[in-house]
Chain length 340, copies 2
């Protein structure tokens, strides 16, 4: 008989935390004891897991005693403090924040892509940034077959990637602008007005002119593929969408590969779905992918501008694939591989 | 003393036609007689030019007698019929539709970029597609200084590019979805729901998997630069924005050029504005560019993924720069150069 595990969710009241709880239920995850945790600010609120109401407890260094799996999504600062505490207490942390992603001692894992990295963990496993996670999935079988030399990616990222306040801000601005197109709206969470607009800044700028979000796509892609020869340039843009990130991805492979083969490889890869029939107007859009676990790929075509080039359009539910689902899949993989 | 010219606007009731009339006024264009024309469907409506109300006349083969300049924006089919008629009658047509753009006997002109092409006209001059026009402007001084080998462009195109019905559709869908997030909305003009969504299809698909809009960016860029060695791959995406197209543009130059020099070159180029100070959160977004004649460029940075690579973000009012303004600027250039 399979074991059951004591699981805590840190950041249980946030968008990703709530999605983690939902996915633990959906995936029928073998939970013995369930413990929802949050920072002082939201501790005391209620969450429901498998029909039972729980009071969210405030995370403290002692919270992780007896816990075996910790799903963390309460911000990098919170993870910085509590992930080492949890690991010390024997609770394996699967961390959705950016805190440990580039730490050489922490595996950065998309379980379908680099499951081999999990076993190198020392108590903490990092979940990649949402836009990286959904990109590396369909690229993995291409990488294995033909190698990848360079990636040019532009993102169309939804407001949910910046938290529930950002979605509320988008809806609030939208209402005001519909009532009065000349209204001046306040941008508190996203850097500029996002309603009926596009904002080419996600996270802070770094010294080379790229944002942190863009550098995450560069660094994390190379770390996940364990290949520093892969070149990546990213431009990350926030668009007025609630849930679901989209990406235009231009890839140069090392070897020739036909588009028919690319379609076949992606379609056969776990959790990837080819949704690509231009003649019938079939391609994925974010609203169609909301609430789905798969990564959807369309607009797959031979790049007319270079040898060995492929263009594609990748869409996924960023709260799931790029965050909550990925974390739960890592935990499941650890159980299957008897690593916990 | 400067001459005045008889000017007709075909498609006077459409979004671009209205913008053409506004720009003729703003630019104090030397109009002797003004004649607004449209297809049978909207003929009879009223438009105002320089404070005087005009009844829009139905375009007929005889409409162009005594006209010297025709600004056309009533669709490719209308231009196909009436542009040769007008040209025959001695009215120089500046055509905003796709009908003649790739016709070898028709110059395709962005007046700041390839003014030399104007004088080769045989009665018809084509205006490029909006997304091409705003891209080639900041690229021109880079091309002249360092050459351009390849361009990877992803667009974030506003609904106004598909006409006023598409904007209305976006607002209508948005209202319905704000009232009921589960509402099923109808998509009549844009291929799929555009409110709170992104649609990676603009115009119809071609046999190679690119859309016509994407192939326009490929073909027109090469024609405007008169250089078939420039490689271009484009992915064109409709976003829920009313006016203003944005583009992420990744360029590989033939020779090394510093980012400081790129900024200086673009900033000194006519009608281009560098809006680029990441430290202060300064970069252009579509709502800031609405109603403006300039092309705004931000996020200029050295591409970390290749030698001689530049990344940038180009935003412009598509109804102006990419359409109405460009047409009027061509007419002005003809007058300045005594080509009419």
């Amino acid at each position: 008989m399979a074991n059951n595990y004591n699981v805590c969710v840190l950041g249980a009241t946030g968008m990703v935390g709530k999605e983690m709880i939902k996915i633990l239920e959906e995936q029928n995850f073998p939970v013995a004891r369930f413990l929802p945790l949050a920072s002082e600010r939201t501790a005391g609120s209620k969450v429901t897991f498998r029909g039972k109401e729980y009071t969210v407890e405030e995370a403290k260094p002692g919270s992780f005693k007896d816990m075996q799996i910790g799903l963390f999504s309460a911000g990098a600062k919170v993870s910085k403090v509590f992930a080492p505490e949890a690991a010390k207490a024997g609770c394996v942390v699967i961390d959705n924040t950016s805190q440990f992603r580039m730490d050489p001692s922490v595996p950065l894992v998309v379980p379908e892509v680099n499951p081999q990295a999990i076993k190198r963990h020392k108590g903490i496993i990092a979940n990649p940034n949402c836009s990286t996670a959904q990109m590396v999935l369909p690229l993995k079988p291409i990488y294995d077959k033909a190698g990848i030399e360079r990636i040019v990616v532009s993102t169309y990222q939804s407001t949910s990637g910046w938290g529930k306040e950002a979605i509320a801000e988008m809806y609030d601005q939208t209402k005001k602008l519909l009532a009065d197109p000349r209204a001046r709206v306040e941008a508190k969470y996203i850097f500029k007005q996002i309603a009926f607009n596009c904002v080419p800044q996600i996270d802070q700028f770094t010294d080379n002119g790229y944002t942190k979000e863009e550098m995450k796509m560069y660094d994390e892609t190379r770390k996940i593929f364990e290949d520093d020869n892969i070149q990546v340039t990213a431009t990350c843009v926030r668009v007025p969408v609630a849930i679901g990130h989209s990406e235009t991805v231009n890839v140069k492979t090392r070897k020739k590969i036909s588009i028919a083969e690319v379609r076949k490889l992606i379609g056969s890869f776990p959790t990837c779905v080819v949704m690509d029939d231009p003649a019938k107007g079939i391609y994925p859009t974010p609203i169609e992918c909301e609430g789905r676990n798969e990564t959807f790929v369309g607009r797959i075509r031979e790049d007319i501008s270079q040898e060995n080039g492929i263009d594609m359009w990748i869409v996924s539910d960023n709260l799931r694939r790029g965050a909550a689902l990925n974390a739960v899949l890592i935990a499941q993989k650890m159980i299957t591989d008897k690593l916990i």
